[in-house]
Amino acid sequence: MSGFTKSPWIIHYDASSCNGCDIETLACLTPGFDVERLGVINTGNPKHADIFLVTGAVNEQSKDVIRNIYHQLPEPKVVVAVGACAASGGIFSECYNISGGVDSVIPVDVYVPGCAARPEAIIDGVVQALGVLEKKQKEMTSLANSLDQALYLRAEKSDAPEILALQKIAYQSEAEIYGDDSLPALQQTLEELQKDFDRSEQVFIKTVVNGKIIGSMRGYALNDSAYLSRVLVHPYFRGRGIGRRLVEEIERAFPGAKRFEVKTGHRSERNLFQFRAQGYQEFKTEPFTPAITWVYLQKKRQ
């Protein structure tokens, strides 16, 4: 018995909607539709919510707020984009300040069509979100229960879409730290990643549990040095030694390398702490954007 399908608590955020979809969303709570009969509570507190309901297209001001709210929702969580604007930017998609639909910032699970979306459609979207929520919850529990059976394997080109999806989820916390979504990891496209797979010197490691990739890291060797990057661990499984193990595995993947080099942002305390704990030492810093300074760390093979 999961209880998940019977108690969806919702947080509703208006990204830059014309208020049409918002009014229809709130109409769902009125006696006519009464979503509370499905156990829905409109919480207003992201930390209590399961479903993140976003209306309107994403503009420069709402971008950070969306990411912040998404980040505060406890796992498992589902994002529902309500209305045409939230799905694609709608009639505002060409505007200079609009970056597109909600999925241009955070991963979206359910799209509700309409302009404005009708209450019936929104309720239908929420009910579909419940299915996704339950699926995610089951996945999470079964993954968490079999973490000790995690396999660390070489990733192949066919893994690229899954690794990219993981990368977008894992880097949400970094974007949160720097308040900047121009991080290269978030900008990378599938084609670029697939091209990386074609490069023969590039090595990808994946952490697989129950056939699902929950962690990944990559690196390439040049002369005597191996350049490692992107320790990706799904947010739900952090703090359980997966990142540490990924670094060990990828070091093993370059038997010829005499020196390993990584770089990370100057405010990513977690990464810095982990690398230092594994014997890496800082040797230079380099400004990347006004918000981010790269910190380079290196380690000599013992």
């Binding site: 018995m1 999961s2 209880g3 998940f4 019977k6 108690s7 608590w9 009125t30 006696p31 009464d34 509370e36 009969r37 499905l38 156990g39 509570i41 409109n42 919480t43 207003g44 507190n45 930390k47 209590h48 399961d50 505060q72 406890p74 796992e75 498992p76 919850q137 529990t141 739900y236």
Partner: protein, 283 residues
Amino acid sequence: MNPWIRLLIYLVAAPIVGGLLAGWDRRISARMQSRQGPPIFQPFYDVLKLMQKENVVVRRSQNYYIFFFLLLAIFTGGLFFGGADLLLVIFALTLAAIFFVLGAYKASSPYSFIGAERELIQMMAYEPMVLLTAIGMYMVTKSFAVNEIASHPTLLVLALPGIFLGFLFTLEIKFRKSPFDLSCSHHAHQELVSGITTEFSGRTLAMIEIAHWYESVFLLGWVYLFFASIPALGIAVSLLVFVLIILVDNVFARLKWQTVLKSAWVVAAVLGFGNILILSLLR
């Protein structure tokens, strides 16, 4: 009945009864707003779900305070249904609430702070009346022990009508219902987010819910004490009082904290102290 058996029944039955009461509350509220409302078991679904959610914290220690809040909420009711001293019960009740407030302070977020501060104000508001209730019961029964008060042959409410009304007033505060839902209103999103519970999630939030179930059973048990000589009447009135609280919740808007504090003290002084004054003069 053996107090230990009573205690055991309380420990097992209180969360079930409390949860059903909470479900009933939401159902009746919905019907008062001409909505269908959630199923009666909704609070249990909610808690089951919360148990499986990720527990997001600002500081890990905030959850320990909530654990003690739950523990003391259970302890309060345990003392009460075990038949212990009423003053000790009040002491445990206050301590439980203090742990709740400390937990919210520990989370250091502005909304959590506002909730915690308002919870303290609410405690200041209801504490005098709760104490006067215990004193009133002592004056009639010559005992602070709950089991002796419960076995008193007369209806306490006949001697303590003012104190009973005053106690109803504090119940409204203690249940955190409108017009006194200052600290964690479910409806004040813009103003409070979720007030005192803002920074708690997952299992910790479930603990808070369960503590509230225990608390509501204990509080209704206290209402029963006023009618203890006729048990059937006592249970009927307790349930009626619960419906009354829901009705008041739906009828009134939230008050400012100043009004809450003043009105609660005026009620305590006029109804509570007045009743005690008359009792001592009649003696």
